[in-house]
Every structure is written in C-alpha cells, then in structure tokens.
C-alpha cells in the first residue's frame, strides 16, 4: 500500500465539516485546511508499513458478545433524565423540525 502525501482543499474541508455537522466559519476553513493537511501528511506514514497480510486490531483485549441476564432493573426516573435536556415538552425531549416546509 503506498501512501502518497495527501492533499486537502478548502472545499474538501467544508465537505468534511458538513458530514460532521459542524457549521464552520470561513476563517476556520482557512485555518483547518492548512492544519488538517499537515496532520494527514504525518499520519499517512502508517501506509509505509507492509501490512497486507496482517489482521487488524480493533481492541487490545479480545472482545466477545457480553449478555446480561434478562432481568428487570431500575432505570433512571424520567424527570432526572429530562432535567438535563435543552428543551422539554409534555415529558418528552422537544426536537426541532425534522422536515422542511416543502418536503
């Protein structure tokens, strides 16, 4: 696997920000485009290692499905959970509109 030095345009950073739900400013785009390109250039070094036949490691310890007994246990009181919410209506999280007018 070869690692060519990656480039990252201002438009590509704007696209990443959209994917990540970050309403970044024009000034941030200028700053981040340069910084992210430098960071990517450094971390692209992983491509120098010949590892085609190596198994990936996602966790340092072997993971298995862990199931707990299917027993009813206490959950948090509704008011305790809603107390931290930014907006509440009728004992529920109030969510801004999901669909636009025309949809």
């Amino acid at each position: 696997m070869s690692a060519e030095r990656p480039t990252l345009t201002r438009d590509e950073v704007a696209h990443l920000a959209r994917l990540a739900r970050l309403e970044v400013t024009a000034a941030e785009l200028d700053l981040f485009a340069g910084q992210l390109e430098v960071i990517l250039g450094s971390i692209a070094r992983v491509g120098e290692v010949a590892a085609a036949d190596i198994e990936p490691t996602s966790h340092a310890v072997p993971l298995q499905n862990v199931l707990r007994p299917d027993r009813i246990a206490a959950s948090l009181p509704r008011e305790a959970v809603l107390a931290g919410a930014p907006s509440v209506e009728d004992d529920r999280f109030r969510v801004p509109q999901i669909l636009g007018e025309e949809e």
Binding site: M1, A51, I54, G84, L99
Partner: protein, 511 residues
C-alpha cells in the same frame, strides 16, 4: 504532626484511623489549600465544599461508631471532569456540556464514594481529553505548580496540578494516549494507566472507546496502588471490563519498597531513546541515571527493539480521531447540553450543526474532521484499516519484547513542561508529547510514570518521568519496579516534591 496537606494518602488515612485528626479536619485543610492557591493554579472547574465536608463527616461518624473503614477512608481526592458525578457539574472540559448535572454516578465515582474517599471537586482537562497541556479546556488554563508560566501536561492536567500542589493527595485521571502518564511526569508525581479493561469505563464521557482507561495519581507509588485497588475490578455495566480479578498492586508496591530488583530483566526500548533526535537532553540525562539506579537495584538491563513503535503516533492519531468522530456524534443538541439556533425556523440538522460549531473547541473539531475523513469510503482502507493493522504489529512487538524481559522502560515524554501558549498553534508539536506513551495505549498494556529527576535545561527546575511498561494484566510489575525505583531515588535525592517552589497565596505570602 506535619501540616495535614503535606501528608500523602497512606499517611492521611493512618492519621484519621488513629484519631490524630478527623476526616473533617483533613478535608477542611485541603479545601483551605484550594482556596489559597487555586486562583493561581486553576486546577479545579468545580469545588464541592459542602459535599466534601458532608462525606468527611460521614467517615468520622462511622469511625466513632466503631465501623470498619477502608484503607483510604477520609482521604481527599480530585476527580477529573470527564468522570460523571451524580449531582455535581460534569463538562469534560467542553462548553457543549456547560451546566449539565449528571443523573448518575460513574462506576469509579461510586467505588470512590463507597471507599469513604472524599471527593473535593472536579478538575480541569483538555476538552473531551483531547490534548497534552490542558490548554484545550473551554474554561481555563491550568498552571504547573513547578512554574506557573508552564502547563501541567494533559489531558488530566487539573488532576496532576492538584496533587503536585498539595491540594489533594490523590486524583483520578484518564489516559487515552498518555493523559495520565505525561501530566504525572511533568508535575513530578506518580500516575498509572491500568491494563485496558481493568477499570470500568461506565460513566466516563467517551473519547476513544478502545483506548480510554481511568487510573490513579498520587505523590507516592503506594498511594497510586491504594487508589488503583479501589477503582479496579470487573463491572458488568462495561462490556470491555475484564471479568477476572486483577493483580494485588498494593502488595506489589509494598514489596517493591524493599528496593531489591535482583532477577528482574529490564528492557530499554531502542525506538524510545531519542536516537533520532527530538528528545530534550535533560530528559535523556535523567533517563540514563534512572537506568543506572535500576541496575544498582540488581536488575539486568538489556536493549530491546520494537520497530513498529515508530508508527504508533501515526496509528494513534488515526484511530483515536476516528473513534472520537463517532463517539461525539451523541452531542446532537437533543438529550443534554447546549442547543443553539432553535428559533422555529432552523431544522434539527441545522440546530445540530450550529450547536456543535459553538459548543466544540478547535482541537475537537480538528479531530472529528480527521476521523470523518479517515472513515470515509475510499479512504477507510488506507487510513483507519491500515492503522488497525499497525496496531496489531505494535501488539506483536510488545509480545516479542516481553518474551525477553519483564518490563520495558523509556522516558515518559520527550519533553519537560513547556510554556503556556508555546505549542497551541501547531497541532503536531502538541501530538509529539505522547510519543513514548502511545505504544502501551494502542496495545492496552499497563504503564506507570514515576518521577526520576529534575532538569534545569529549560530554565527553572522541572521534573522528569520514567515510564515502566508491563504485559497486560501485570500491572503489579509496574508498581513493584516503580516502588523500588522510588525508594532508591528518594534515599539519594529526597522526595522530588521537596524541590517544588512555594505558590503565591490568595491571602498574600507564599506556601
């Protein structure tokens, strides 16, 4: 009797158990110390004076009633703000969680409370634990008590500063790429990253789930071991928690204090000796002297090559941002925290984007975008997939090394504490602070940092840390070797914190 704040955790517990001082007196002394110096130090985001005094009073009542007390009952502790605490503000250093009061305790919070340990408050940190200086906190810059113009390391810099400045004898930190070990090193205290899975992550605000691990800070190896024993152990609420008992780290620390390492084989990691440059000379000098001390204690010293450690930085800064971009998707302006732009016109998606833009700081945004990039189709194999393969090779390097030696050693960080502001504009200059700590993070193996010298290379006297790494589940080896080293170091030089300067206090004067 010495001033109460000068006592370490084991001494504090002994003083309380014997009735020489009450837990309330001990806690009051710690709270007074915080009042005196925290205007300068800025280690705490929140001080829970009433809660701490009530917890201390409860310990005193239990003692008066003749109830058995744990080995750390009544000892004050500073809790990193990434750990959720029922009824106490928890922000993870981020504006997006400003004002949030968790409705539950993390497992480690519960264990700390159950042990009768007195939680003084929540400590400052890099936002979501992303950083090596605590300057990425959205709230304040914490200062290093050795030199107030310098950083206390990070991301657990509030915790390290609090312990080094005698605000608390104990603190909890979390370590994803070095966030316990590096701040311990640059403030002259002990910090241990346990084996991944040894300490429950339930109730830790997640940054990088396959790497995050909580651990203890103390001013002695024994203190760190005593706190480790309290927080470690299987937790059914964390599916990555190891379902078996860990080693007896307290016994290991006590055995190590006998200062006899005959029969132990210590490996110096070739790739972490600064041969290619980039390490400060004062750090390397202290490291060489430390290895000589280990040899004097009877250890056999060999050099071991771990060739893939050279790629740990690159692999880490792909894996951690990838996991963070996924974990931080939970901050969607719906269930908790900040909401911006909810004016009836903006859609949920727009509210989300406006909220995250305002609520996250620049380093968090950078890492989310790097992670988003690395996980994108078309780039996944070359970046995230390849980083996971490199991770396998780093694990194999450790496995091969531990077939030859019992522990591996290196400097904890290539650098001593640097000036506030010195590295903030250059993310890569910040990332290289973690050069020596990242391999053990990626492999999930335990590693401790123990003070090993003072250098004046950067101007003022500043501490250096020695990192001791062991195989998974062999945390006891870290504690044993660290305790032996500490005993030898202290008998030669005195305790390292005897060299820390006094801090100007709020009431005038120095202490």
């Amino acid at each position: 009797m010495a001033n109460l704040i000068d006592l370490d955790a084991a001494q504090t517990a002994a003083v309380i158990a014997s009735g020489q001082a009450s837990a309330v007196e001990v806690t009051s002394a710690a709270l007074d110390r915080i009042s005196e110096v925290d205007d300068q130090l800025r280690a705490f985001l929140h001080v829970d004076r009433d809660g701490a005094l009530a917890a201390a009073a409860a310990v005193d009542e239990r003692r008066a009633a003749g109830e058995p007390l744990g080995p750390l009952a009544g000892v004050p502790l500073a809790m990193k703000d990434v750990v959720v605490t029922k009824g106490l503000p928890t922000t993870s250093g981020s504006k997006i969680l400003q004002g949030w009061i968790p409705p539950y305790d993390a497992t480690i919070t519960q264990r700390v409370r159950d042990a009768g340990i007195v939680m003084l408050g929540k400590t400052n940190m890099d936002e979501f634990a992303m950083g090596s200086s605590t300057e990425n906190s959205a709230y304040q810059v914490t200062r290093n008590p050795w030199d107030l113009s310098r950083v206390p390391g990070g991301s657990s810099g509030g915790s390290s500063a609090a312990v080094a400045a005698f605000q608390a004898p104990l603190a909890i930190g979390t370590d994803t790429g070095g966030s316990i070990r590096q701040p311990a090193a640059v403030t002259g205290i002990v910090g241990h990253k346990p084996t991944y899975g040894a300490v429950s992550r339930y109730g830790l605000i997640a940054f990088s789930s396959s790497l995050d691990q909580a651990g203890p800070f103390g001013r002695s190896v024994l203190d760190a071991a005593l706190l480790h024993e309290v927080i470690a152990g299987h937790d059914p609420a964390d599916s990555t928690s190891i379902p078996q008992a860990g080693p007896d780290v307290v016994a290991a620390a006590r055995a190590g204090a006998q200062a006899d390492l005959r029969g132990l084989k210590v490996g110096i990691v070739t790739e972490l000796t600064g041969a290619g440059g980039g390490y400060q000379a004062g750090v390397l000098d202290s490291f060489r002297q430390s290895v000589a001390i280990l040899a004097e204690l009877g250890a056999e010293i060999v050099e071991v090559s771990c060739p893939h450690f050279d790629y740990a930085l690159a692999a880490y800064y792909l894996i951690a941002p990838s996991e963070c971009s996924s974990n931080l998707a939970r901050f969607d302006a719906v269930r908790y925290g900040l909401r911006v732009g909810d004016d009836g016109n903006h859609s949920l998606e727009e509210v989300m984007s406006l909220t995250r833009e305002q609520g996250f700081g620049p380093e968090v945004k950078r890492r989310i975008m790097i992670g988003t990039y690395a996980l994108s189709s078309g780039y996944y194999d070359a970046y995230y997939g390849q980083a996971q393969k490199v991770r396998t090779l780093i694990v194999r390097d450790f496995t091969a090394a531990f077939e030859q030696v019992d522990v591996l050693v290196s400097p904890t960080s290539p650098f001593v504490a640097f000036e506030v502001g010195e590295r903030v504009a250059d993310p890569m200059a910040m990332y290289v602070n973690d050069l020596c700590t990242l391999p053990a993070s990626l492999a999930g193996t335990p590693a401790i940092s123990v003070p090993c010298g003072i250098t004046t290379e950067a101007g003022p006297p500043l501490p250096v840390g020695l990192q001791i790494m062991a195989p998974a589940m062999a945390d006891d080896r870290c504690y044993r070797v660290a305790a032996a080293f500490e005993t030898a170091y202290n008998s030669k030089n005195g305790h390292i914190l005897q060299g820390i300067p006094a801090i100007p206090t709020a009431t005038g004067g120095l202490r």
